[in-house]
Symmetry: C2
C-alpha cells in the first residue's frame, strides 16, 4: 500500500506510491541529447560574442590568461528589472499589483558551450557557486529586494532553451508566499524546540542513515524522507548558517565540489536527465537569524507534474527515497567516488 | 515593465512578464498529434475490453442501445486504495506517515478511443460531469475521505500516456496543505466581508469586463486577473454553492456544455495543446458552509514550469490575461459561438 509522508520543512504531504513503484533504473532517460560544439558562433554566451549580452554585472577572470571563466550579465528578457517602485497599486481589493522591480541576472558558468556543471573541475564549480554568493551579497542590500532566488534549469523540460550552461539569479520585491510559509515552519521549529530545524533534521537523517547519498567534512547529500519526485536530492551543510552570503571560501569550495559530484552521478546514472536546482537562503534582513540553514535542492525532471499535483499540492512520487539513495551510494562505491557514506560496506 | 499581481484566492503573487510578452497567437502548438482510430483492440478502455479494467464503480448506460456511455473503474495502479487506516504513524517527529488510503477512480469519458471532450455533444459532456458529481456524492461520505480531487490530464506533458479520453477522481485522507490554505483565504474573506469570495470576485470581473471570455445563464468563463499561465481559464457558477455535490442536473448540464465549449475553443485556437483541468470543491463535511464556490480551472501546458516557479511558488506568465481573453472572445464572435459576452461588439 502507498504511504503519505509529511515533509517536515513545509508540512506538506507527499504520496510515496509503491503500487506504481518503479525501480531506480526504470528512470533512466531513453533519448540522448544532441552533441554540442565547444564554441558556437551565434551563441550570445560564447566568448567573442560578449557584445550580444546586456550589462555585465560581474566577471571572474583567469589570472593566467586574462580571459573570463564566469560572467554575470543581465537577462535580455528580464522577468523583473531595476527602475520601478515597490509601492503597491490598489486598483481594487481584487486587483493588487506592483512593478516588476528587481534584478534578473544570468550566470554564464563557463566559456565552453558544451561543458556542463557535472563535468566541471573543483575550480570551475567553485567559481560558479562563488558567483552565486557574491551576487547574493550585492543584491541583498538593495532597497527593492526582499528575496533572492538562485536556480538552474538544465534541459528543455526543466525550462531552458539556451544550451550554453548558465544559471540565474532573480530578485523579488516581496517574500513569495510559498517561501514565507517555508520560513515560518523553520521559525516555529526554532521557537518550540530551540534548535535549528535543518540541523535537527540532518541529525535525524544521519541517525536513520537510509537516505544518505554522500558525506563530506562540511556537507551531507541525501534523498529526503518526503521526496516529492524520484531522485529529489538535497545538499545540506553540517553547520547551519541562515544565508549563503555568510559562507567562507573554503566551505563554498567544498560545496561546489559536492554539487558537481551530485550532478555528475545523476548524469551518469540516469543518462543526463533534465533537472532544476534551487538554492534556498533566508529573505534579506534575516541573515543573522538563527532559524534557517541555506541548502540546495535538486529536482530531476523524470515524471510529469499532472492535474493531481496542480490541484492538491500533493506530489505522487513513484519511487522510494530509501531505494534511490541506495542506488546512488552503490554507484559511487563501485566507481570509487569520494564522499561516499562512511557507514556503507 | 512587468507587473506583480496578487491572486485574491490564494494571496500568491504572479509575475505578468510584459518584457518577454508573447502575443496570444504565439502560443499555438506547432506539432500535431498522431491521429487515433475510433477503436483500438489493445486499449483497456475501449468497448469489448471491459474485463481488462478493475472493479467498475459506476456506468452510465445508453437506454436505446443498452451500451455504456461513461464508465467509472478503479485505477489499475492506484495512488491510494481502500483497506488501510487513517491512523498516523509517528516513527519520529520528522517521519510522520499514514497509509495511502482512499479511492483512485478513472472516468472513461466515452466508448470512442478518438473522441475528445472538446468534441462531445451536450449529452456526452453532461454524462461526464454528472459522473464527477455522482462519484463525489458517494465518496464524500466515506470515513477515510477528507478531500476529493477531480481532474483531467490531456496529453503527455500534462501527465497522461493513455490516449483513450479519461479523467480521474482521487480521494485523500487528509485535506492537502495547499488546499487548506486556499479554503482559509475564502473563509477569511467570508468572515471579514460577509460575502462569498467567489461571488464577490465574479462581480469584480463582470464589472471590469476585460477578462471575461463567455457567459451563460448560470456560468462565467474568464481568464483570471493573476493568471499563473498563458490561457489559464476558470469557469465559475453565478450561484455560489460550496460543493459540486449539490448541483442539480439542469445546472450541471449547462456547466458540461460550457466546459466543452471552452475546451473546444482552446483546441481550435491553439492547435490542441496539452492541458489539465481541476475541479475545486469543499473538503468533506463543509458542504453546507457558505464560504466557498465550486468551480473549474483549466491549465493549458504551453510553457514549462522552471526553477524559479519551483523555488519561489511565483509563476512567470508571459501573456496578459486581458489579451488572451479578448483573443478567445474574438474567435467565438467570428465563429458565431453561443455564450459570448453580451458587452462585446
Amino acid at each position: 500500500m502507498s504511504e503519505f509522508r509529511l515533509d517536515p520543512t513545509t508540512r506538506e504531504w507527499v504520496v510515496i506510491a509503491t503500487e506504481r513503484a518503479r525501480r531506480p533504473h526504470d528512470f533512466v532517460v531513453r533519448a540522448g541529447r544532441v552533441a554540442q560544439p565547444a564554441f558556437l558562433a551565434d551563441c550570445p554566451f560564447c566568448p567573442g560574442n560578449e557584445a550580444q549580452t546586456t550589462t555585465e554585472r560581474a566577471a571572474y577572470i583567469d589570472p593566467a590568461t586574462g580571459r573570463w571563466r564566469v560572467r554575470v550579465v543581465d537577462n535580455k528578457y528580464p522577468a523583473v528589472k531595476a527602475g520601478g517602485s515597490t509601492m503597491r497599486r490598489h486598483e481594487h481589493p481584487f486587483a493588487l499589483s506592483l512593478d516588476g522591480v528587481g534584478s534578473h541576472e544570468v550566470v554564464i558558468e563557463t566559456p565552453l558551450h558544451n561543458r556542463h556543471f557535472a563535468q566541471f573541475s573543483d575550480d570551475e564549480a567553485f567559481d560558479v557557486v562563488r558567483a552565486f554568493r557574491d551576487r547574493l551579497r550585492v543584491l541583498s542590500v538593495r532597497e527593492d529586494v526582499r528575496q533572492v532566488i538562485i536556480f538552474k534549469n538544465h534541459g528543455p523540460t526543466a525550462g531552458t532553451s539556451l544550451e550554453h550552461p548558465h544559471s540565474q539569479v532573480v530578485t523579488t520585491p516581496v517574500v513569495p508566499w510559498h517561501r514565507r510559509h517555508h520560513y515560518d515552519v523553520a521559525i516555529r521549529h526554532f521557537d518550540e524546540e530551540g534548535i535549528n530545524l535543518y540541523a535537527d533534521l540532518l541529525q535525524f537523517e544521519l541517525d536513520q542513515h537510509v537516505r544518505i547519498v554522500a558525506e563530506s567534512d562540511g556537507f551531507v547529500e541525501l534523498h529526503p524522507y518526503a521526496s516529492r519526485r524520484p531522485f529529489e536530492t538535497w545538499i545540506v551543510p553540517r553547520l547551519a548558517r541562515s544565508s549563503l552570503a555568510g559562507v567562507p571560501d573554503d566551505e563554498l569550495r567544498e560545496f561546489g565540489t559536492m554539487l558537481r559530484d551530485s550532478l555528475n552521478v545523476l548524469q551518469n546514472v540516469l543518462n543526463d536527465p533534465d533537472y532544476n536546482f534551487i538554492l534556498y537562503t533566508v529573505p534579506t534582513g534575516d541573515e543573522d537569524e538563527p532559524y534557517y540553514s541555506w541548502h540546495v535542492r535538486i529536482y530531476p525532471r523524470l515524471t510529469a507534474v499532472a492535474g493531481f499535483e496542480i490541484g492538491s499540492g500533493i506530489h505522487i512520487n513513484t519511487s522510494l527515497p530509501e531505494e534511490t539513495a541506495l542506488f546512488m551510494r552503490e554507484f559511487r562505491t563501485i566507481n570509487g567516488m569520494p564522499g561516499r557514506s562512511e557507514q556503507d560496506g
